[in-house]
Amino acid sequence: MTTVPTTTSHGPTGAAAADLRSRPGTPVRLEGLTRRYGPVVALDGLDLEIAGGELLALLGPSGCGKTTALRAIAGFDRPDSGRVLLDDRDITGVPASKRDMGMVFQAYSLFPNLTVAENVAFGLRVRRRARSERAGRAAELLELVGLADRGKRYPHQLSGGQQQRVALARALAVAPQVLLLDEPLSALDAQVRVQLREEIRRIQLELGITTVFVTHDQAEALSVADRVGVMRAGRLEQVASPDELYERPATAFVAEFVGTMNRVPAILTGGAVELLGTRRPVTGATPAGGPVVALVRPESLVVAADPAGRGRVVTRTFSGASTRVLVALPDGVEVRIDVASADSQLLTPGAPVGVTPADRPVLVAPAEPA
């Protein structure tokens, strides 16, 4: 996104510093990538533009083609058609070993017979760098990922989180132009996962390296990415910043995949929707009039204790400042509603309540034949 003016790019920075602090990030572009495995279409004409220095998250359910896309970028897999461009250069046919990209895998991938420091220095050894340079660089990167004192250990002596940190250091040691992360945190437990994703983001910003972060965890994608690409069946549904994705999902699929979404039956007439006894304007793609399903966020519903209300509280889940209330409406519809914890005193299970939509436009999807 940011292009450094060429006149000032011949900076006085020393080689080592320039190495680690990286050049201005390199843009990557995917054009019409298609990949079939027999009858399975893993990638279906995928187009994607990743700006230099950007962290783009590829988000989608399992089997939607995220790994296949990443492997095409890394060069492990040749797409049936389409192109991969690095800095406007077509690299579709370049072998993986010559692509200058660092990758962290979902599975633990450290070389078991090498120490942590030797693992980090592997790429430099392959590049025939001097021993002293390798050692210095490995130390520098282990410092960066917070494992400066573990260089002499072997991989099996590290925890899962530490192994993935080392894998990250190893991928970054050769100062690649692009960093590729394939669900690097999915094997770790929740606490480590949150901590490590923040660290990945910190390092990525520090180095300014173009990064593709594949995940099926929407919270992970929203929290670290500059932009998120939501994939479905080998295609991108929407590419947008996290808040835009959350506030203005382009499709019902995105709306339901990102964050929690309530599905409430409603009637569509003349550009507005009849929802829970209230009329609200419609946003986004609009199906034909008639019965539809309104997609409403938990914070876009208002719940109040009301002896005449038609809803009943089912459960109440406290989570700090806010409390989530599950309300059963007539006709077997259940909705999740977030309220400030301070206002939730009366919303005990069994209490009669009234539910109304907040005053904002509503996203609708075609009604399912139930």
Partner: protein, 293 residues
């Protein structure tokens, strides 16, 4: 399952735990099996040893038959030849199978069953059938191709000092064992991810093979080598039928005139093979302990 059942039963009991009976019975079985197995191997071995150290003339014991081994007529040549054949067989079998298995694992997983069946063939086809076929070809080809390089090659293969034809046959016979040993190693490691990580870091394919695959498969390569080597050191049928003198055929040849010497050699070779096996596993364990400490 039994342990779990006992654990559950133990947890429920109020009295101090006294489930000794099933434990002792299981332990008893273990001992019985060990004893039977031990006797099965120990009796022939002990009998052989007894046969070689008993001094028939004076009574008492003698080491004379063991002392006589190095100087025995034909021993050095036959034993040296077998060692060379073993080394060549191991080298060729590994050169053939390591890349094949890696290739199948990484690139052609659908061929796995085919390769597995192919490597099983030598177990199904009796060595005798194999060797009769080989002998027919060796007899027929030089005549048919007389004066051509093919005939020359056929003769070269049958050089009595170092019969390469035996190496070729032994590689085939060793395939089932080598394949299985290597396959166990490949299945135990995530080779695909490791090689991709190495490729991603800029390593060429030969580099990946040497720096990543071989170290990861180290234990199974050692196992495969040992099995192939032991097979060559003990193989009699093929060498005898093709008329080459190897260590086993030499033992049989002298057994008529010097029975005690021949058995002494057998006992010794068993001990040496066994020692080699211990050495390999000790080396492997030391590497692992080094990596752990």
């Amino acid at each position: 399952m039994t342990a779990l059942a006992e654990g559950v039963a133990g947890a429920g009991s109020v009295e101090p735990p006294a489930p000794v009976r099933p434990v002792r019975r299981r332990g008893g079985w273990r001992v019985a099996v060990l004893v039977v197995l031990g006797l099965y191997f120990a009796i022939p071995l002990a009998a052989s040893t007894w046969f070689t150290v008993r001094d028939r003339g004076a009574g008492g014991f003698t080491a004379e038959h063991y002392a006589g081994i190095p100087g025995a007529e034909g021993f050095a040549a036959a034993f040296g030849r077998s060692l060379a054949l073993g080394a060549l067989t191991v080298g060729l079998a590994l050169l053939l199978m390591v890349p094949t298995i890696v290739l199948v694992e990484l690139r052609l997983p659908r061929l796995r069953t085919t390769v597995e069946l192919l490597t099983l063939m030598p177990l199904v086809v009796p060595p005798i059938a194999l060797v009769v076929g080989v002998r027919s070809v060796l007899a027929w080809a030089p005549e048919h191709f007389y004066g051509t390089p093919v005939a020359e090659a056929m003769f070269a293969l049958q050089e009595p000092a170092l019969p390469w034809i035996l190496v070729l046959v032994y590689v085939v016979l060793a395939l089932p064992f080598v394949y299985r040993a290597l396959d166990a190693g490949v299945r135990g490691a995530d080779l695909r991810t490791l090689t991709e990580a190495a490729r991603n870091l800029g390593a060429s394919w030969p580099r990946v093979l040497v720096s990543v695959v071989l170290p990861v498969l180290r234990t199974s390569v050692l196992n495969a080598s040992f099995l192939a080597f032991a097979l060559v050191l003990g193989e009699y049928t093929v060498a005898a039928i093709l008329g080459f003198e190897t260590f086993p055929t030499w033992i049989v040849r002298i057994s008529g005139s010097q029975p005690q010497l021949s058995v002494a050699v057998s006992v010794l070779s068993l001990v040496v093979t066994w020692g080699l096996l211990l050495l390999i596993s000790a080396l492997d364990r030391r590497r692992r302990i080094e990596e752990t400490s």
